[in-house]
Every structure is written in structure tokens, then in C-alpha cells.
Symmetry: C2
Subunit: 292 residues, 2 copies
């Protein structure tokens, strides 16, 4: 192979943009550099090749025949490479995460900014679905869902244990509390899952007669129930992980004298093995470790 003259492909790209836009200034804007930089790049390319791609009017440039020919030859190639690299980048740095609505709204989304700081390149698309137990998560790179205690969780990594305790609005707590320990019977219980499964398990665990509970409204997501709870409609058996903000700010109080108990786990599954997915899962793990 002969000694060949290797032009700067970056300069060729600059040329292509100038050729397309017909202006150094516009090309500079597109590239995020000044027109002077473009002028220099172009001049260097022309000098190296020993050709003139542009006819220089005094404050305008226009393609010469040679320039047009070269542009028509190289522009598709440049475009192909850029699209190719771009697709690669997106595939690798854009992940979709599927999570239940409540977890997404109350934990994932509020935490996501810390992930962005950690991995600024990775863009996360959050997909929510309110249905708890969707077995197959379609075309998501990461799925997060809730598992009741004892439920089969083959292939799912532990994200966090779900510890629940009754929470209630401070207003309601103050109203019901007349110098004595408040009783669960004094506060309407809000349902947030089908069949009232969580309250039943709670009664069972702590030996409380289910009849003591007075059920008020029902909601299809924890998030909705918690909104109702904040509004003073009653108490919710709330996962600690979903109420960090409210208990911290005092918008919700833990019903005194009640220990958290484990009703299940949040678990995630990788459906792809890209680096971004690994980073995201690792980040979730550290987030959870920091919560403990």
C-alpha cells in the first residue's frame, strides 16, 4: 500500500456542515464553535488537499464544482457514521425502567437526580404500571416489582425489604388523642390493595382482631392511599420506603406503639446486560444501603 495522505476526518465533517448550511457562522453554531474555528478548519483541509471547495465572496461562501462533488461523495458517509455511532450511544446509554406506580412516584423519581449526578450520560425512561403483579415486563431493561413474602422470585434480585407500619395524618392523630394512647380502632383504615391483604397480614402478625379495624375508602395504589392519608382520611399500612418524605416533613406520623413488619420485598430484574443497566442497578443498591 502506498504512502497516503490522511486528511482529518473531523475537518471533513466540518466541511460537510459548511457545505450543507452554506455558511461558516451557521456551521459554527451547529458545531458549537465560533465561525473563526470553522474558517481555520476549512482552510487547513483545503490546504492539505490543495483544492478550493468554496468560492469566497467577501462575506459569503459558495461551493465550487469540486466542493459540490466532494460533498455529494462524503456527506452520506459522514451521516452514516454519525447515525451509527449515535444509535450505539442511545442503545447503550438509554435505559427503560419499569416500576409500579407508587414505587416510581415515591422513591425512584425523587431519587433519580442522584443517579443523574452519578452517571450523567445515562438517560432513564421510567415506565409505570399500577398493576402489581405483572409477570412479564415488556421491553424494559430493568423491571422492579413487589413480591409478597413467600412469593416465588426466581431471577429477581433483592432491592429492599418492605417494612410497613400504620401511618396517619398528624391532624387525625391529634384529634383522636385525648390524653391516652390512640387505638387503631379510633382511626379509619384505608385500603390500598386488593382484598385488603396487607391489613389482614398485619392483624394476623400482631394478633389484632380484624374486627377492630374500621375500613373506610379503598385505593388501587399505595400512592393514592397515601395522598388520602395525608389528607386526613385515615391510616395506611405504609411501606417505610414510600413515605420517607412525609414522615420526615411531619406530613405523616407513625401510629405510636406499632413496630414495622415485613410484608414482602421489592425486587428488580435485568432484562439487558448493558453497562448503563449495570450502573443503574448498582446505583439502586447503594441508594437502598444508604437508606438503612
Amino acid at each position: 500500500m502506498q504512502e497516503r495522505h490522511r486528511v482529518s476526518l473531523n475537518a471533513v465533517r466540518v466541511f460537510a456542515i459548511v457545505a450543507r448550511t452554506g455558511s461558516l457562522t451557521a456551521a459554527g453554531a451547529e458545531l458549537g464553535v465560533t465561525s473563526g474555528a470553522v474558517s481555520h478548519q476549512l482552510k487547513k483541509l483545503e490546504d492539505e488537499l490543495g483544492v478550493s471547495f468554496f468560492r469566497r465572496g467577501n462575506n459569503t461562501v459558495s461551493l465550487t464544482d469540486m466542493g459540490r462533488r466532494f460533498y455529494e461523495e462524503v456527506a452520506p458517509a459522514i451521516g452514516l457514521i454519525e447515525r451509527s455511532a449515535d444509535a450505539l450511544y442511545r442503545d447503550e446509554n438509554e435505559i427503560s425502567v419499569h416500576a409500579t406506580t407508587s414505587l416510581a412516584l415515591r422513591w425512584l423519581i425523587p431519587s433519580l437526580d442522584r443517579f443523574r449526578v452519578l452517571c450523567p450520560k445515562v438517560r432513564v425512561r421510567v415506565e409505570t404500571s399500577s398493576a402489581r403483579g405483572i409477570p412479564a415486563i415488556p421491553d424494559s431493561d430493568v423491571g422492579i416489582r413487589y413480591f409478597r413474602t413467600g412469593e416465588e422470585a426466581e431471577g429477581w434480585e433483592l432491592l429492599a425489604r418492605d417494612l410497613r407500619r400504620p401511618v396517619v395524618s398528624p391532624v387525625l392523630l391529634a384529634r383522636g388523642n385525648h390524653g391516652r394512647e390512640i387505638a387503631v380502632a379510633d382511626v379509619p383504615a384505608l385500603q390500598c390493595c386488593v382484598g385488603n391483604w396487607d391489613w389482614k397480614l398485619w392483624c394476623e402478625t400482631f394478633g389484632i382482631p380484624p374486627a377492630d379495624l374500621s375500613f373506610a375508602h379503598a385505593f388501587d395504589t399505595d400512592d393514592a392511599a397515601l395522598h388520602a392519608c395525608v389528607a386526613g382520611l385515615g391510616m395506611v399500612l405504609a411501606p417505610t420506603i414510600l413515605t420517607a418524605r412525609e414522615t420526615k416533613s411531619g406530613a405523616l406520623m407513625i401510629l405510636p406503639g406499632h413496630q414495622p413488619f415485613e410484608t414482602g420485598t421489592y425486587r428488580y430484574r435485568r432484562c439487558s446486560e448493558s453497562r448503563a443497566v449495570r450502573q443503574f442497578c448498582a446505583w439502586m443498591d447503594t441508594e437502598m444501603r444508604n437508606l438503612e
Copy 2:
């Protein structure tokens, strides 16, 4: 158009070469840089894109699936751009010059190194033909030929006037000179063109009877005739421009008492308007000016 991540196309080229050769060292050699430079470029590209193109063994690299895919996508595009630029460069910086054998051998080729110094990028291909009066010079960027005085020279630029005078080997000059002025009749005349046109014109111009001349051998080019002349076979009516070296070194002497006279002109014609051609013609002009 969205904010897009512009990878360095030069880095992509480096990647492509590494992918093709399968070795950083080999790629470095091909690019004329060290393997360290290649390693850096590659790493930067992978980091920017957030992907791994190569599996790193400890002293070996091999393409990952993603790397192979990317290579197959971009390699043709890279190749296209390089070939395109290369062709452009050659078209623009490689010129072919057609000249008669004698002028090429005795003036153009000896002078060409000065042109190389002036325009190192331009490569000149010299094409010679012994036939004097070829009307059309096929696919040459510059044609140079001789025009007899009075010959139609439309479209041909003047390169140099052709001044001729009889020259002879000093050996022959010394042999014939016995204390008196040497006469043209004493030296055999060598013919170097069809019909002995030059000697006839010379006789006519200076009023010398053609019968005084004793013709010896004949040659089809000035160059051959001059070789014979140097060898002492006789005198040649030689263009000054073709005998600079010999008269300077003393290998040939001008026959005493004879003035140069103009028999025609050397002229050139541009058959293409590339920059290299302009540079070459300008250089020829200055060369000729310097000779005067």
C-alpha cells in the same frame, strides 16, 4: 434536531484500523503513531460512546459483537471518505507534462528538483515523445513543444525563444584549429531534424553557401545529436537552452565567431486549470527568466 453527541471521526478511523488489523501496534504502525496513542484514542471513543468494542486479553485485543457490528457499519464509510479525499488530492497535485524528448531530458528533468523544492506536494509525471510536431497532446495537463518561426501557435504560451548556434566538442575544435580561425567547412555538420531544416535556415540567415557544409551523421533527436557532438563526431546547431550544462562544463564549445539566431520558440499549453498546473507553468516561466 436534537442535541447530538459528536464522536471524533478520527477516533472512529483509528477504531476501524484496529478492528481490521486486530492489533493496536499494527494500527499504530499504519497510522504512523505509537501503540499508546492508539490505545488512548480507542479508550476515549469507547468511553464517549459508553461501549466496549474490544475484549481485552492481556496482550491481545479482539472485537466484541458490538465492535464487529460497528466496524461493519462504519468501515465502508471511512474507506469511501478516504478514497474520495485521496482521489481529489491526486487529481489536484499530480500533473502530467508532455514534452519532446530532448527538452525533457536536457532542461525539464534537470530543473525539476527546483520545482519540487518550490511545490513539494506536486508530483510531476513526465511524458516524452520524440516526434516534434504532434498537434494534440493526449491526456496531459501541460504540453510543451517546439514551434518553428512563423508557425501558427494559437493558444500556446511562450516558454522560451530558441536561440541556436553551432557547437562542437573541444577536442574537435583543437584538432581543426592550426593558428587560424576555424571554418564551418572544417567540421562535419550533424543533422538532428528532418530535412536538415535548421542548417538550411542558418545558411540562409548568415549567407553561408550550403555547399560549404559537409554533412555527416543524422539523428532523430537533438539529444542524440548532442551526444554525438560531445563524442566529437561533428558540430550541431544547438539550442542554447539544451546545452547549458555542456557549455558550462566545457564538454561543448561554441564555434568561434558565430552569433546565436532564433529559429523558433518553445511553447506550452495548459490542458487543465488545476492549481498545480498553474504553479507548474508559473515555475517554468520563472526558470526561463532566470536563464536569461
